[in-house]
Amino acid sequence: MGAKIKVVERKGKTFFEQLYLIEIFKGMAVTVGHFFRNLRDNSNLYVRHYPEVKPEITPRWRGRHRLTLHEDGSIKCVACFMCQTNCPSECIMIEAGEREDGVSEKMPVKFEIDLLECIYCGYCVEACPMDAIRMDSGVFSVTSSNRENMMIGIAELIEPPGAFNEDEYQKGVG
Amino acid sequence: MTETLLFYGFGLLSILGALGLILFKHPMNGAMSFVITLISLACLYALLSAKLIFAIQLIVYAGAIMSLILFIIMFLNIGESDLPEERGRWFYLAGGIVAIGPIAILMQRAFKTLPPGETAIVGDGFGGVQEVGMVLFTDWLLPFEIVSILLLVALVGAVVLAGKREVSE
């Protein structure tokens, strides 16, 4: 391995550094500079005023899951159980049923995700052969005041549209 | 009037604290009751206008020495099971009372010969830092220096004892 090794000179050997106090005053000068810069004009703060100003998220951001639909509005998922099998935190619970609309043979009767268990790893998205589950809903704040609401079913999963257009998303995935 | 009441109050507290030191089984309880004794003694000094002695009693005994003792008790972390079983404790107590009896009578006789005192605050800076310092460093200079040498010897002895590290085979 041709790793570059850079030998850094060890600080703290000279007399003035051994005195500590001088170095401490130097450090304090740095911090108080920041303090007064922010005190003089608090628009200098490097913070986002979160609930009002939302952060920008990229197409690769893994937000809450959604189930995608065909053009005609039928569900893409064919209940192949790939995502459920692949899920490391075992938060996906699918119940398969007969499909009558002719798109495929199977469809999920129940598709539940326990968001309290989910670790947002995105393996379900990678495993899906039908591009039926995606994490591009753009919902990054998943909160609830009770456990029941964190268990979401098909209705909630097909509800949000994708937060990005198809080209952007494909670029992010590719 | 208030002074006399306070005097009796603190006197009672100091006796109770000393009793607690002897009677409590757990070392922490004993140490804490001894702290009460030391504080009430300091308050007695304050009532007798000995301001400097009051402060020094609090700083040295109540503040430094007793907190070291508490520190050690905490360090050893003694549980209920580590305490020795004190068999015949009441027997020893009775023996102690019998032994102390004559001394107590002697003390009482000695105190009776003392002139009656007042616990009112004495003015003219009696017992202040400057006054005690003047007396200590003029009339009592030699004893003071001898005592400080004694303390120094004790300090050196402690360092020697603590510094000795014998390697066991």
């Binding site: 106090l21 703060l45 | 922490m28 402060a55």
Partner: protein, 428 residues
């Protein structure tokens, strides 16, 4: 005792008891917002009552309500419940008692009577402080020990050994200071610092004892268990140290005690080394002599200061994002209105003083208020140094801490005593 006597005694005791307590709120606020600004973030600024956030001070109210209504748990494994409950009280009460001997203004002379402006007019001053500080250790030891928890015991051990070992350099630094001042009485110490060295430098402790002030401040930081010496609550190693088992108001008492101790030690540093209530170059007599001029100067200076302060509020109290009909702007308007109202009030009082009540008790009262204000401002600045150091320096390692205390500070303090005594004996 006349009515005036009783009134002044009440005033002094109220000052000694309530000023440290109300400063706790200010200090917590200063610590949090200060921490925010030091680290380029905002700090708590959302809590509000009817839209008024008072720059984040309302957060303290929310915290207080939370701490009061939390469940007060005494864990079942604690056998010595008495000590467990006693410990936070001790920490808090000892911190508060230390403030009792600190003078906040010069001796007030009314008629032929003199009133010493300390909560408790003791003339053993600094010795009282040393005595009471020693008791603070009991609280920590008892808390750590009675928690019956290894983190608690470790934290208690660390805190206690730290406080005990730093009391020595602190005491030695004080010795050389007392050699200079020649008294232990706090009011006399403060009066001494009103003199001028060579006729133009204020004779503050920091000028006559430059080495002593460094030793004393370092030792005071260690005494109050503040960063960089807050090993007692090293979160990364021993969770929270001696208060790990405490909840609700018992924890709050530790918290209050910490901040009161910080305030008191700042007040002590100011009293001993930074001129106490003395305004530099304006000793009490000078102030009394030029009382009229000083009052006029305040009357002129106050509106100018208020104008700039109002401008600062206007600039900074606004929402930093698009918000229709910004409520924070309206808030700022109210604050600025209040500010001008207060300025008007002070101006009216001073005008009344100038017109009606010159040359009498009013002069002395004016000087007393000025000195109290100076003392509080200096103490607040010292507290800011505490906050500043806390958000600048990392924590020491435990062996480094003891090494600095015993191997560096103590010989330095002894050297300082030697030099000071030599100088005093040869020149004094």
């Amino acid at each position: 005792m006349s009515l005036l006597d009783i009134l002044l005694i009440l005033l002094r005791i109220a000052f000694g008891a309530f000023v440290p307590l109300s400063f706790v709120a200010v200090l917590v606020w200063m610590e949090r917002r200060g921490a925010g600004f030091f680290q380029d973030r905002a700090g708590p600024n959302r809590c509000h009552v009817m839209g008024f956030r008072a720059g984040g001070l309302i957060q303290n109210l929310a915290d207080g309500v939370k701490l009061i209504f939390k469940e007060d748990v005494v864990p079942a494994h604690i056998t010595h419940k008495f000590y467990f409950i006693l410990a936070p009280m001790l920490v808090f009460v000892t911190a508060l008692l230390c403030f009792a001997v600190i003078p906040f203004a010069d001796v007030l002379v009314i008629g032929s009577k003199e009133y010493i402006m300390q909560a408790v007019p003791l003339d053993i001053g600094i010795l009282w402080f040393l005595a009471i500080v020693g008791f603070g250790v009991y609280g920590i030891i008892l808390a750590g020990w009675s928690s019956h928890n290894k983190y608690g015991v470790l934290g208690g051990l660390r805190a206690a050994s730290q406080v005990i070992s730093y009391e020595i350099p602190m005491g030695l630094a004080l010795v050389s200071l007392l050699v200079v001042y020649g008294t232990v009485n706090m009011t006399e110490i403060a009066q001494y610092q009103g003199q001028l060295l060579f006729g133009f430098i204020p004779m503050w402790g920091v000028v006559v004892q430059p080495l002593g002030v460094i030793i004393f401040i370092i030792a005071a930081f260690a005494e109050t268990n503040r960063t960089p010496f807050d090993l007692a609550e090293g979160e990364s190693e021993i969770v929270a140290g001696f208060h790990v088992e405490y909840s609700s108001m018992k924890f709050a008492l530790f918290f209050l005690g910490e901040y009161v101790a910080m305030f008191v030690s700042s007040a002590l540093i100011v009293t001993l080394y930074f001129g106490s209530f003395q305004i530099p170059w304006f000793a009490t007599e000078t102030l009394l002599f030029y009382a009229t001029e000083v009052a006029v100067a305040i009357m002129v200076g106050l509106p100018i200061g208020a104008y700039f302060f109002a401008g600062w509020i206007r600039k900074n109290n606004k929402s930093h994002y698009d918000r229709p009909n910004d409520p924070r702007r309206r808030e700022a308007t109210v604050y600025i209105g209040l500010l001008w109202l207060m300025v008007m009030l002070v101006e009216v009082v001073l005008l009344g003083y100038l017109v009606f009540a010159q040359n009498g008790i009013a002069d002395r009262l004016l000087v007393m208020i000025l000195q109290t204000g100076t003392f509080l401002i200096k103490t607040t600045m010292m507290c800011f140094v505490y906050v500043w150091v806390r958000w600048t320096l990392p924590r020491f390692r435990y062996d480094q801490l003891q090494k600095i205390g015993w191997e560096k500070l103590m010989p330095l303090a002894l050297l300082n005593i030697f030099i000071t005594s030599a100088v005093i004996v040869s020149f004094g």
